[in-house]
Symmetry: C3
């Protein structure tokens, strides 16, 4: 695909500085861009690189126009415009609508004629797949579950029974929605399973990464609100509620019944304990353990800094002496003050 | 489904206080319960909520009877009774016995007539599936593997060759049993694979969460004893032995050849190193790194506390000065004592 | 299978001490070995066990020959020789070449006649599967992807479109190659997806563990060089470059655009942040958070030591006072020195 800068400006409601007939056929970073590429700059620190760039055009905000020697597309959010141009230049190849001959679809299931159902897909009783949904090879959709309009399941996704997934969602391969929450009670010398009879409700425009898992609720539903983005290997336990537009990086685990606010950003491999509340607009840095409710917006961390292993070992053993050290400092202060 | 309180008491060998003809058709928490619901209270701190509950009945121990104004089911373990009532009120819908027409079953495999084999299931040579087992769509069971009586594999589970899984087990979607242990030897400038020729043996009543992995042994078997419960994203490496009724929360990793005792409770995202031993009745808190054998029952932890990122940063950099701080305290003590 | 010691020596270019006609039919550890077994010793600390071993033979380096009372195979790297003997004694049972009748292969795909394609495998348009490759049941290979010679995909692996996998690779079940990198831009009150239009390139002899994920690049490719070994639950984010022969244990996460050198060893559940560089020959201990570039070979760590929970709690709360403690030590030193 290729577009002139003017065509892009028209589609994206942007304005142009410089030669608007220049042809763009791909995107690249400022440093790597060559003829035919458009790049973007949203940060003044890349202005040096921009001055040396071979790109055919650049996407910038108005306030950086002066630093630009090449044709420019002028917008409010250059990275968002870049994302939209990627979609124009590299249009997604979706499979054709229709049901593959090897798919197994229960007669009571309702599958839209505009949906695409891949090879070996299994759709159980009373399940529904809405218009324009894409269910790729090997996916299994349990009874009474619903897949919303234009939602895309990549191959080998499993959706258990009784789970509702919204519109324009993306679920990546090997992800699982609706597996049992982890609930047991120790009784008569063994763990008695507490059957998990709730479901899962996922809002619109939610993305769930490869090998991520959203467990079904114990009694009520596990709920993920619209616009949430979960990276790979994320776990959402039973009865968790994730607020709209919250983002979780790879490997985050959220334990049972915890309520997470809107617009939070949870760093990779952070662990969030059960039965707590996280406010809106909380940011948690990678690998932090969240062991209590966070009721104020803001950024939170635990973890310790990386060091060479030899130095680390020397310091790390002192961690077990911290309370002793604190008491000895107090004692020294008393002794000094008494003498003073 | 619905039951009178008397019917529930009869089935569960419990006794009743109050109107035993009241009808129960669902369960709920003390706070959310409405007419028709039964709730449970096992902790005195919920007695306040109980006094205001709209539940039709409550499950309590005898010693809380006095605080109960609504009909009560009197038992030793209210939460366990609650679990049993969930099973009565929300009976599991299991698929019918029989083999789906799309399943691929080698002629040498033995599949019980009472087992249910879903769409696209693959069962390889000499594998066995016992009575009442449920193997859902897309599962693959390798040659010579055995699935015990009443064991339930949810869709898209993979069991490699030569793995023995006991009775009444549950394996959730995308989980893997019998993948190669991670064994290599650096030789002639590359990693030489050490073929993993052991198997996996899993006892009865074991549950394995979605996307969890149990690797096969290098020479001998990896072993999981009866009643073990593994949450999602758990890893059991080659030649690990997990003792009976041990529970691991989401994301726990156990490295090779480690032996874990009975009745342990391992918190989420804890990491347990290779070639160590964990005693019976050990509890490990979430995200702890277990870097040595734990030979005594008890609770163990590592991790550091969460803080706002600004404070955390200030304190965290001091971690690399801990040894220096300890030495300076010692030095101060010497100076003070000399002066004293 | 069984071999005389002489036959093994001939195949492996080793020399023999003692009875070269002794018959070997299995391998075992020094402690567990019985008649018919061969064991190996590469560390002097096992010489005591060797002197009491019932093994029929032992694999040793020349410098340990004197301590050996049983027939010995003399080699440079006993553990590597052991690995090769495992392969001789327990030859892998690969499925027959050919395409299972239930496989769905697009007419434009090229599948070698010597490849083995299992039940329900899906191979999309223009994909290629080279000689001797083994694609087990339920795998999905997207359009334009290539699977190299002798590469083995265990059941239920998903390879998205446009991914190149080298020769002699092994991908374990539920692993995913080519899922979207995690790229979004916040715009107009929601996260706008940045389409991930790069691919994945994986070199020869790479192993990828069960439930591991390699994301596709945003614009350019995610690259894994030859000989890399990834354990289970590992995540390689978009545009990461992993250097040759680097090994990552279970659960490691590498965030976007990070470049990791050759011959690194990354411990289990370590997290490596985005956009940094790790030099060749870096070792990172388990559960370490790598928050900055590591430009020197060597070993690095973070984490804190395990303790009983009661002691840990006492010390852990002091972590939030570390900066204060450091300042008070400084203050004490000033006071003492002023007095001195």
């Amino acid at each position: 695909m290729s577009y002139t800068l003017k065509q892009l400006a028209d589609i994206l409601n942007a304005s142009v500085q410089g030669n608007e007939e220049i042809v763009i056929n791909s995107v690249a970073s400022v440093e790597n861009a060559l003829e035919g590429d458009i790049c973007f700059v949203s940060n003044a620190k890349y202005l040096g690189a921009l001055s040396e760039s071979f790109a055919s055009a650049v996407i910038v905000k108005e306030d950086m126009l002066e630093s630009t020697h090449i044709p420019a597309l002028i917008v409010d959010n250059p990275r968002a415009t870049y994302a939209r141009i990627v979609d124009l230049l590299y249009p997604q190849q979706l499979p054709e609508p229709g049901i593959h001959s090897t798919a197994c679809i229960e007669s009571s299931a309702k599958v839209s004629a505009s949906a695409s159902i891949g090879a070996n897909v299994v759709i159980e009783a009373n399940a529904e797949v809405a218009d324009d949904a894409v269910i790729e090879a090997g996916c299994v959709i349990g009874r009474n579950s619903k897949i919303g309009k234009s939602t895309h399941l990549y191959p080998n996704v499993t959706v258990y029974y009784g789970c509702i997934i919204g519109e324009q969602c993306i679920l990546h391969s090997s992800s699982v929605v609706g597996s049992d929450g982890f609930g047991f009670e120790f009784d008569k010398n063994e763990w008695l399973k507490i059957s998990q009879v709730g479901g899962v409700r996922i809002g619109n425009k939610v993305e769930i990464g490869a090998c991520s898992v959203v467990d079904r609720g114990a009694l009520n539903d596990t709920v993920i609100d619209e616009g949430v983005k979960l990276d790979n290997h994320v776990q959402i336990a039973h009865n968790v509620h994730v607020g709209a537009h919250t983002v979780m990086s790879r490997g985050v685990g959220v334990a049972g019944s915890t309520k997470i606010g809107k617009n939070c950003i949870i760093g990779g491999m952070a662990g969030i304990r059960d039965n707590i509340e996280i406010a809106d607009n909380v940011m948690i840095t990678a690998m932090t353990i969240v062991s209590k409710s966070l009721r104020q917006a803001g950024s939170y961390s635990s973890t310790t800094p990386i060091d060479d292993t030899k130095s680390w070992r020397k310091n790390s053993v002192r961690f077990r002496q911290l309370d002793d050290m604190a008491k000895r400092i107090r004692q020294l202060e008393k002794q000094i003050n008494n003498k003073g």
